[in-house]
Symmetry: C2
Subunit: 298 residues, 2 copies
């Protein structure tokens, strides 16, 4: 490699900037092999030995780029800074290059593509999935531009006090009149894993609390399982509970009463095989069940 | 067509299920031509004449599938229901078909693809974009699985009280150590357009209020513009203000102080040409500016 290492090694080696240690969340390991464009190379001075899924260093451990380190060793740091800036510029610019190619390809395939795209959207599906970078919703479902309204957050949660996701559901159902609402989780979800660890996760605590509450609701079933089985099942149960949260909304109940749609689905994506698993959430049964308390159609 | 019409016509013809009329938000028109899979056909009894960008009917207008209509005309409605259910089943099942094909294709191209995918994520980018179905973030940037952590909401907003997006930013910066944070808006944004209309939008009011607040901050500049120029400029200014909101966070300020990243970028996607426009948000200048009041690195 003669003084050069791949960026991905450096990504893993760069320490945490500060704040709460989130050591239970899985980290990057070999996914760099998947990166189609990251062929940029950086000096080995950026790298240090790293372990896949390594723990996040504590706030006490200084970054190679920390300001105090720069002050102690200005010349070396300046060179590192220059290299970093160069990488940042390149990894910024390559997106615009790819984007131009994409636009040209679309136009070559269909000269009217962008004219149609500008005219409006009429998606059949609302997708509520995880922010995880490994689950490109459109690609794995085979859906193209205009077909799926998308919300992605950490661990695909649907909370009644969350104006963000509630606005999405409201707009998708009442205005776009989507036919399907899909909650899609995935095995190996870092958010779910973090929620299973009894530790303080700082700002993430209140968000992940929702998953801990799912555990509480299914404590008996989950306690009877161990290791990955328990983890996988919590991923599934979390999806089912989020489906239930969607069915509790006035928008969904009223639309379903009037139109017989949208139908709410719970799926899980498998990172190890790329397949979607249908949890066969029974929309009608859940609706019937929740309407004992949450009937908002009257 | 012999009694058959395309689903897309029906989508536009189905009335609003109830709730606040959101007549200012643009609706579907000809985007069905983009839909790669929607070749399913449904009976013409589902369709009625519709106008592109038509207004949403009021709650008083009954759906063809409303329960009262079904009670008055049980036989006809039952047939319609059957057809609807058939369509819903087909449009559900085709996703799983596409998904199986996608997984096979990935494995054919690279037998180790899913093994690598399971190992972890190490994205360089955090994308905060609009939920609009016409902006597939990965496709337009040319990035693949593992490269970009993604949050999408209505009008790509970053609000300090929004635990959803704040958890995403916190996790992406402190844990994944992303190098770039991109806020990407788009011209023709329905959320921005709705926010410009002086009307009650029900549950969406508090969410879209954030855009109205952006207007207030730039009132003089925007008032001097008219029509689409004003609309386009508000889309851009909204992106810039959301970048500013990200730079105000402790996670970003502290990481930038220690590591010289992430860099925050503001881009706008053009639906009419498929190109990303870089608004050339000056991260350093905004940081310097906000730290007069919001310096969280001390």
């Amino acid at each position: 490699m003669a003084g050069l290492v791949r960026l991905s090694s450096r990504i893993r080696s760069l320490p945490h900037a500060g704040g709460a240690a989130i050591s239970s969340l899985p980290r990057a390991s070999s996914s760099h092999l998947l990166l189609r464009y990251q062929q940029l190379q950086i000096p080995s001075s950026f790298s240090s030995p790293s372990t896949p899924l390594q723990l996040v260093p504590s706030i006490a451990q200084k970054s190679t780029f920390s300001s105090s380190a720069r002050a102690n060793c200005p010349r070396k740091m300046t060179e590192q800074s220059k290299e970093l800036r160069k990488y940042l510029q390149q990894s910024h610019d390559k997106i615009f290059e790819s984007n131009r190619k994409w636009a040209e390809e679309q136009r070559a395939k269909n000269p009217e593509f962008f004219e149609k795209l500008s005219a409006g959207q009429s998606p059949d599906y609302l997708w509520i999935g995880c922010s995880d970078s490994r689950i490109p919703a459109e690609a794995i479902t085979g859906l193209g531009p205009g077909e799926m309204f998308i919300h992605r957050n950490i661990a695909n949660l649907v909370c009644n006090l969350d104006l963000n996701v509630m606005s999405v559901v409201n707009y998708a159902v009442r205005h776009l009149k989507v036919k399907h609402i899909v909650v899609c989780g995935h095995y190996g979800c870092g958010g779910v894993k973090a929620a299973m660890a009894p530790q303080d996760l700082g700002l993430l605590n209140p968000w992940l609390r929702n998953i801990r509450d799912v555990y509480r609701l299914h404590e008996k079933e989950l306690d009877a399982l161990e290791g990955d089985s328990r983890y996988d099942r919590l991923v599934e149960l979390n999806v089912v509970e989020q489906c239930r949260n969607i069915i509790k909304t006035a928008a969904v109940q009223q639309s379903y009463e009037a139109n017989e749609f949208p139908i709410v689905h719970g799926w899980v994506f498998g990172l190890n095989d790329g397949l979607l698993k249908d949890l066969k959430v029974d929309h009608e049964a859940i609706l019937h069940d929740v309407q004992k308390i949450y009937n908002l159609t009257k």
